[in-house]
Amino acid sequence: MSLLAPALLAGLLGLALPVVAHLLGREPPRRIPFAAVRFLEPREPTVTQRRRVHDVPLLVVRLLLLALLVFALARPVTRGERTLSVVGEPHDAVILVDGSFSTDLRIDERRDLERAVERVRELVEALPVGTRAALLTTDPAGPRLEASEDLERIPRALEGWLEEGAPRPIGRRLGDELVQATSLLPPAEPDRERVVYAVGDPTPGGLGSLPERGPEGIGLIPVATRDESLVVPEHVSIDAVTWAPAPDLDPRAVRIAASVHRHGGGDDVRTVGVALRIDEAEVARGEVTLAADEAGPVEFTHTVLEGGAGPVAATVELLPGTEPDPLPGDDRRALWLAASERLDLVLVNGDPSERRVNDEAFFFTTALNASALGGSVTVHSLAPDQLEERVREKGPGALGDADVVVLANVKAPSAEVAAALRSRVEAGMGLWITVGERVESTAYNQALPELLPLRLRGTSEAGTLPGRAQARTEGLAPPQLAHPLFAGLDGDLALSGTRTRRLVLVEPDPRRDAQVALAYSSGGPALVTLELGRGRVALLTTTIDRDWSDLSLRPGFVPLVQHAVAWLAGAESAGSGAQLAAGSPWSRASDGPYSIRLPDGERRTLSPDEGVITFEDTWIPGHYRARPVEAPEDEPERVFAVVVDARESDTSYDPGPPLVDESGLSEVRASQPQWRWIVILAMLLLGAESVARARARARRRSANLPIDA
């Protein structure tokens, strides 16, 4: 055992005070020289000075209580087996705490987030004096503290956060918050290191999401909430739920498919019961048998009743097993069912070809039909001149029913088409631009200056890229899974082997709020997105046929098309596609207020801000209903479901990359406060004090002495 504040033991000297006070202490009497002392006679002896201790046991007990108080102030701790790596010299640090959903995992009746807070407390105690530390969590509503030498406020803030109900079902990965964390670091100073301590659970979404190195000039030290020796109990989650119409069974029948995942487990197989609830009433049950770390499908069919008042609230949930699930938040998944929910997609093929290998439309429609969206998307193919003609005839209303427009290797659109596209995108439509031989950069930049995520700089052969003189093709880097386009995507798209021979270069422009969803292995953007008004735009900088790339031949092309189309259409979708990850905002164009009913029955009324209703408090998984406050009764509700990010259900052990540079780090044993036994001892002593006091009173009463103790 050791003491964190041994200097406070000097307070033990204070124990002498009650003894001295007991023996000598009294107020010195006023001294009054007087001539008539002869006539002063006290009526009874007055005890004005006590030189003998009357109640030794009572004094001893009280002294022990005081000593215990001093000892507690000296903060006794024992050094545990666990060690922490900290920078040995005073430095600037950010403590980044993983507050994602996976930290709700209960092991030995403690949640991982509670362990994270305990690690932070140990870390704070281990940091050298003079260190300035800031705090950030992956929860946008969590505590955020600027850098300061007052380190004690950090664990206090985290404990308050825990009491407020953290963690929430957040799907943010620890590694994605590094850039924001480094922004909290004070400006660099010579001879003063800058470090991010990333405190998280050793899971793929926690420490496993950290890069090998921190940003330039900034150290990265992972701090695990637990080590591998702690046995993580298995748990089961529902990773995904999708539905599709099943006209082969009934015109209004739907198939509901759920992916059930067993995380962890031993050599045995486990049968998991799954139930389908429609409007909270259980309508079907199914089972799936799973080995360790295995996912399996469960399928239900259901017939949506005719004459229903709109989409139907469905929930797929796990039936309770013999053991309580250590991560229960992912045991339910909500979705909305509709028998006739379809997407309208307009594909403008700028380079139609008899040969399939040179036809964008062929690859696109083939991939779309092979995806989960295949049964619910209606594709309308148009030639560019047909589009221009329809726009000339109908104006922007020519695209009125389209959810997504794909410009596949189209020459720069005319001004009328460009205006129609812009108008519709701002109203919520999705636009996907893919390039090819017919795309002229300058013309595109002039025609679609605001719709293009980034301005085009012309085509380039892959082999001529700076620094890539030896290569003749470009591969694709792993997708930016933090991009909302890839929400729900589990793992890689397997596009790293893609060979792209030619591509369109784009001009970086920090003023535009463009995001790169997919990049080439050289770092150049491959798929860039932009949100404009209520709509979304995506730009693929190579072709979707075989002309410039073999991307369309890759298996990852199907999920890429599926996610891109779903994301582009998702802005205004009200049907099955309206599944939001918890915490993602829901928005809708409206001139009037909306009433939103939350899964727990609470109603919120939101007023539009510049014509857009934005609801951000989507932290409760389940069914949400939205309706304009002044809408007629027969107008269908806008609905959306909020689900937990399936990646957060993965609790497999992943401590992340090892420390790259351990020089300058010192190993500190984590201290464990020894409060419990001090509290027990204090309670015992308080009891003893009461007994001693009662005995002293009884003794004085029997001796007919004044009772003053």
């Binding site: 009294r26 107020e27 009497p29 006023r30 001294r31 009054i32 020289p33 007087f34 001539a35 008539a36 002392v37 002869r38 006539f39 002063l40 006679e41 006290p42 009526r43 007055t46 004005t48």
Partner: protein, 340 residues
């Protein structure tokens, strides 16, 4: 001349008091039998201003004293006799024990009293004694002074002398002495009697609260012994006045709170008493009142005038009261003990 350099006489008797004393005489209730002619009525007929009676002329009588009118009425020579005015010796006995060192007199360097009252018992005794000496010497009466301080007797002025030099000497002794310790009453009486002239005026100054000489002595017995010596002087024809000087604190006991106080005997004879002061008050006031009432009775019974004065009374009023009481007038400044 600054106060610090003024003669003790001027410091004990301020101008107001001096002006007052200039018009006063030290007149006595009884007659005197002095050695020299003085202002006091004698038991013998003599040279004086007040008519007494007539007697037949005998050879040798002073012819200036023949009363021709009476001779005409009586048809024989008659001599007019007047009251003889003879000197009366003033003997001052002053108790300078520690009990008198109470109160305050910042001007005399004595500091404020425990309750902030400025009047100091010892200084008041000096003023009154000096005032009597001033009146006496102005009348031509001799005066003597005996001082009992710190267990010792100061008798340098024990032999009665008249004149201003004696007055100044008395003032110097009274000013220079610092009250403390015990007062050796009995040796003081012994010394007094060696030089006391017949039918003197003996004035004793004391608080007469606790005249014991040692721890364990009976204070009532000690007081009775003093009273016996005064009675003896009275029986031998001397006029005896006892001036009891008290401080207001001794009559009111102003400490009423519950804080513990340590009362220390100024004479250094008795053990300190330590107690919450407020608890002591009622008993003290009861006892001091009984003590003073008993003293009044005892001294009156013995024919000794007891003049009680409190130091918060202005010195002029206290002096007038003393002169009046010596002349046989009733008191106008009664000293009452506070109610508990």
């Amino acid at each position: 001349m600054s106060d610090a350099l003024a003669h003790p006489l001027a410091r004990l008797l301020d101008d107001e008091l001096l002006a007052l004393l200039g018009r006063r005489e030290l007149s006595l209730r009884g007659t005197v039998l002095g050695q020299r002619q003085g202002p006091h009525r004698s038991v013998r007929a003599g040279v004086g201003r007040d008519f007494r009676d007539h007697r037949p002329y005998v050879p040798g009588d002073d012819l200036r004293r023949l009363d021709w009118r009476a001779a005409a009425r009586q048809s024989r020579l008659m001599v007019r006799r007047t009251e003889a005015e003879e000197e009366r010796s003033l003997a001052l006995l002053v108790d300078a024990s520690g009990g008198m060192a109470y109160g305050g007199d910042p001007g005399a360097g004595l500091g404020p009293g425990p309750t902030g009252t400025p009047a100091h018992k010892w200084r008041r005794a000096g003023t009154l004694a000096c005032a009597l000496a001033q009146v006496a010497t102005r009348q031509g009466d001799p005066a003597s002074l005996l001082l009992g301080v710190s267990g010792e007797l100061r008798d340098s002025l024990a032999v009665p002398r008249a004149g201003r030099q004696r007055l100044r000497a008395i003032a110097e002794v009274l000013w220079d002495a610092r009250a403390g310790g015990r007062c050796p009453w009995l040796p003081m009486f012994d010394r007094l009697e060696r030089h006391l002239r017949p039918r003197s005026l003996v004035v004793a100054f004391s608080d007469l609260l606790d005249p014991v000489q040692a721890a364990g002595d009976d204070p009532d017995a000690a007081e009775a012994a003093i009273r016996a010596r005064l009675v003896d002087l009275r029986a031998r024809g001397h006029e005896v006045v006892l001036v009891q000087i008290l401080h207001r604190d001794e009559l009111d006991f102003p400490w009423t709170d519950r804080r513990v106080a340590r009362f220390e005997d100024l004479r250094g004879v008795r053990a300190p008493v330590e107690a919450p002061a407020g608890d002591l008050r009622a008993g003290y006031l009861e006892r001091i009142a009984a003590h003073l009432a008993r003293q009044d009775g005892d001294f009156e019974r013995e024919g000794i005038r007891l003049v009680r004065t409190v130091t918060d009374v202005p010195s002029t009023a206290a002096t007038l009261e003393l002169l009046g009481r010596i002349a046989g007038e009733p008191t106008s400044l009664p000293a009452e003990v506070a109610s508990p």
